[in-house]
Subunit: 382 residues, 2 copies
């Protein structure tokens, strides 16, 4: 079990009907004017927008709004939002949406105090301060509601890069699982795969952190079981709630305890897919690359992958577990290959280039992938 | 899954050799003078005292010391420490020890600002401020290193009562599992049972919080497995580390998510044992009462107890699971009955009185225990 340091200061308020607590929480923190940022308007359709603005108005909070954050959120939008936050002199950023909106909020909160937010992603400026961040989550997937990470795509350079800072943990996230009942199953499943992938990025890093590995197996099985239930009944509140909480735990620090920093090769690879094709959902890309990656690297640490096969899939061999994993993704009607994602054969070298541009020292913290490995892996996933 | 609110601001630094980071952390927080509180001197034998004072001295922190905190920590000692902290005008409390020392530190930190700390336990004064609390953990058991609870015994009234406050979470806890290798197996096992009991207090509260229940089963199995390993080899670092982290998670909020507030009847009952017989280790008392309680109440929610039997003990019936649970405690050479704990038959009515004095509205948040239930349960456990 690797030595570690852990601190997660985010407050979570969780449950049906809890959004009404938002206003009083902001008042208690002394917030007077927030910039509400959101995506394309689904929060108006599902009633979340009304609940949020009702609660804030009753509490006397001034709200400014900006809409139009896209999936795979873009740097140009973040810069626009930073300019707006400065112009309005807001004292908090409120993200109402999924991971893209929350990641954008984090970049805005930090960028508010920087010369240019992209400098923080490039490493030439350091986050030293950030506006307080509040979130109301509408899609359980990225875990961004309870961590200090943000991933933004620079469309000029097709770089999809991340920052991590103790200063951009949300101060409060409200998770009302009932508002997710209007999601399509495709959105639900894609979110579930994102959460699964977060756990898998840590799972194989060592085999000594038994307590974390046992928790991770429990979370993986819970996510699969709850997603199966939601395929049958999108309105199954208990399944929504348990999936939502498992997805939060998948990337709030809990799943990585004692497992070094995890591997993260699959995330880097997937980021290249959506940097090139912004229409690819992050979870769907991960669902394609992860099984291929497990197949490709599992013989480098057979015992760890065998433990995953046994604990999560009740199988004695990695091949059989992979067969079940892929079968599950197929059952959920997720894409099974790069081709299914809409990627063309001639694009593979470009993907390799994009991946290596973000990882000049090679890919994978635990299982190193050379350029040759990457090429082979993409062919396998194609 | 019950609605919940969760926030745990404690920073954890975990791993062999990490105590040296204490001084720099206090400096970063602006601490200049701390009151180090400790128990009977085991921290001198195991080298922890030297590591702590070395780190603080190098960092230029002034240390005042007070020794002699006992197991089942006493109100009179807490009052003495509060007077000392005021006299010295320290700006932080540093607990070096196990749960008793940490709980005392919390009571001192809060009591520093109160007319009388026992008022907070009686509910007549509210904790509104506390000195910052730092801990270096030497026995994994109570989880106090990462929560806002403190349990203190008022020896004048034989009341063993608790407080909970967001203000008494340690700011930082350092957990170096390697320092626990000098514990006796009896201490290790008693600590493990305490952690098991914390999880069990939540486990049966409902059967909808599947994500938490899956984690709790994983933690329970891990604790048993690691304790078995430590019985064979007290120096097994990985077993120490995983047991330590599981014990922290057992009462840092994680294990109670979505499970209402748990039941806590067994803790209240055990507190009466050690209020009457201060020599009874908390974990040993819990090891006696919990199996008896499960046997007594399991038919009130058969499905929840059957799930525990299956998930944790791989048994189809609660009786068989209880047989395994009791067998495990026996294997660990833990007391199996109130008689084994040194309690005498004529003391049972006194125990009932003590228990009901702390729970005038009856016992058990989930499974209510009347006075008759209590009497029957104690006879069963005798």
């Amino acid at each position: 079990m690797q030595a570690f340091s852990f601190k997660n200061p985010t407050k979570i308020i969780f449950g049906a009907g809890q959004i009404k607590l938002l206003g009083p929480e902001l008042v208690a923190d002394g917030i007077k004017h927030c910039l509400l940022i959101a995506g394309g308007g689904s929060i108006k359709a599902n009633g979340v927008y009304e609940q949020v603005t009702d609660s804030l108005q009753k509490a006397g909070i001034v709200i400014s709004e900006s809409w139009g954050v896209q999936a795979n959120p873009r740097l140009d939008k973040v810069r626009e939002l930073i300019a707006l936050a400065r112009e309005l002199q807001v004292d908090a950023i409120l993200a109402v949406g999924g991971g893209s909106v929350i990641d954008s909020a984090k970049a805005v909160a930090a960028g508010f105090y920087l010369n240019d937010i992209w400098n923080a992603f490039r490493g030439s400026e350091q986050v030293k301060q950030a506006l307080p961040i509040y979130t109301v989550l509408t899609l359980s997937a990225t875990g961004s509601e309870m961590n200090g990470n943000a991933v933004i795509t620079n469309n000029d350079t097709t770089q999809k890069w991340g920052i991590s800072s103790a200063l951009i943990y949300p101060r409060l996230s409200i998770i009302d699982p009932s508002v997710q009942s209007t999601l399509s199953f495709r959105q639900t499943a894609s979110g579930a795969i994102d959460a699964i992938a977060h756990i898998l990025e840590y799972y194989f890093a060592n085999d000594t952190a038994k307590s974390t590995l046992a928790i991770n197996a429990a979370l993986l099985k819970t996510i699969v079981e709850m997603t199966d239930r939601l395929k049958l009944n999108a309105g199954d509140y208990e399944a929504r709630a348990n999936l939502a909480w498992a997805a939060t735990l998948a990337l709030n620090g809990t799943s990585g305890i004692g497992l070094n920093e995890g591997d993260w090769a699959c995330h880097a690879i997937e980021h290249s897919f959506s940097a090139l094709h912004q229409e690819i959902a992050h979870g769907e890309g991960l669902g394609v690359i992860f099984p291929a990656w497990i197949g490709y690297v599992s013989d480098r640490a057979p015992a760890r992958f065998a433990a995953w096969a046994k604990e999560v899939w009740a199988e004695d061999s990695v091949s059989l577990a992979l067969h079940k994993f892929r079968g599950k993704l197929e059952e959920w009607e997720m894409p099974g290959s790069l081709r299914d994602l809409g990627i063309k054969d001639p694009e593979l070298p470009t993907l390799v280039e994009i991946i290596l541009s973000g990882a000049p020292r090679g890919l994978g913290e635990v299982f190193k992938l050379s350029k040759d490995d990457l090429q082979a892996l993409l062919v396998l996933a194609f």
